[in-house]
Subunit: 269 residues, 2 copies
């Protein structure tokens, strides 16, 4: 039995730098696939590539146009390989048109002095003490995650009661559970609902236009996290004339920063 | 008399999506050009392109390999143009090899509900009350900026007195003054010295591997800022096994968030 995420990111090699794959119904969003599944799939093209060097440290995915349900082609080109870093250009096409573009940086890390300035919130109740978030009205991909929000910070509370910020916290893991790896972490980086929903507490048409994720953990740290919930913290800085940013951190349950991630999101009205 | 930044980002069209340019001695760094000049130059290729739609909202630049002083070629391809957004693929080559890659998102903004959650530090003394930072020992590009740090937060204080964070604030503007525009703002986004220097207060070999900038202002807001100092705030989240992130915000002198920017930086030891 393979996990739905592994099915969603599965690729077949069709040439030196090209792959085919297909969207997965479990990760369907309102229109097309969940962006996190798309970014994990593009990252997977580099992860699977025979020329791959090291592990990902950065990923940028530009959601250039709608992705239709069905087959896609991916081009993953190692545009530059150095002694310890490798730079990738990534493109997803459907019917010959680019629907998603991006880039990734891979690196072979060496042990150095290390420190973490950022501090995970210390007052988050354990996941098992919080109710699982869910709604049959939400798109299928939301049911691929076990999300547990801090009470009062649940998404989609559309009472129109405008807030002064969009800071939220949650515990999240794949459902069914799946040991954390780079593809799974990349997918979780798009897990944070549009901040403008939390800020205005009313719906709006939205769409992520670009997402960047930085990976602070290596494969061993991700393996150590296993399939347990990770902690997510998210906020926005500014909403203006059709676009807002949002940033989020993904923390291990021991308070290690696993990933930090940033988006620009289109909104209407 | 043209400004050195305009000379540094100057490009000559050589084809449908190709340009040539050359590094500028005023923006020389330790090795090769200042990364901010490189990212502004790549952005400029899209800004100058006859197919350009709207203004930049996001830019990602991957510093794939060293850029040598001298001539370079740029390829700027509008990989997808929608009704109100346009996605760019950017490459800089020298001698046929990719030295820099990237992407940009442009958009035609429409007036919408707008708000700013982030708050500029309110206790920063005005720029004219602070001494200008400078050192003849630093690379030429640092003298292209008038930087005024909050006392105690000056860079390169290499006394080995480890700090618990790398948060710093400064006022910065081009020197000579230059009215702010997207290229100038993109260049300033790489202005923040490596956080690991502020954190450990000792030198180390470093190099930015990837930079992302989000533009929250439009051309009119940048024009309103003119050539006055902008406020910069910066910090890091985690340093680990050869790489650390840093994030920064660039604020107008009226407290509007003009840009937010993020990097992953290589370090040794």
């Amino acid at each position: 039995m393979s996990h739905a995420l592994d099915e969603a990111i599965r690729l077949a090699s069709t040439g030196a730098n090209t792959y085919t794959g297909a969207t997965h119904p479990a990760y369907a969003n309102m229109v097309g696939p969940y962006g996190g599944a798309t970014s994990a799939t593009l990252l997977n093209a580099a992860l699977l590539h025979p020329s791959r060097l090291g592990d990902p440290i950065a990923l940028t995915i530009n959601f250039a146009g709608p992705v239709a349900e069905g087959a896609f082609e991916i081009e993953a080109v190692p545009v530059r390989t150095n002694r310890s870093t490798q730079h990738w250009s990534l493109l997803m096409r459907q019917g010959g048109a680019v629907c998603t573009s991006g880039s990734a940086v891979f690196a072979q890390r060496r042990e150095t002095w290390s420190a973490q300035d950022a501090v995970a919130p210390g007052d988050m109740p354990p996941p098992e003490s919080l109710p699982r978030f869910g709604s049959d009205l939400l798109p299928p991909w939301t049911r691929c995650y076990d999300m547990r929000f801090l009470p009062g910070e649940e998404p989609f509370q559309f009472d129109g009661d405008m807030r002064s910020h969009a800071n939220t916290r949650l515990w999240v893991r794949d459902d069914p559970p799946r040991p954390l790896d780079f593809a799974g972490l990349a997918a979780i980086c798009d897990n944070f609902f549009p901040r403008i929903f939390d800020r205005r507490r009313r719906p709006a048409p939205i769409g992520t236009v670009t997402l960047t994720a930085y990976f602070h953990a290596d494969a061993a740290q991700l393996a150590a996290q296993g399939a347990r919930h990770v902690l997510g913290t998210a906020r926005a800085l500014r909403y203006r004339d059709g676009y807002f940013d949002q940033s989020a951190e993904v923390w291990s349950d021991a308070g290690q920063l696993l990933a930090s991630t940033h988006q620009m999101v289109y909104f209407k009205e």
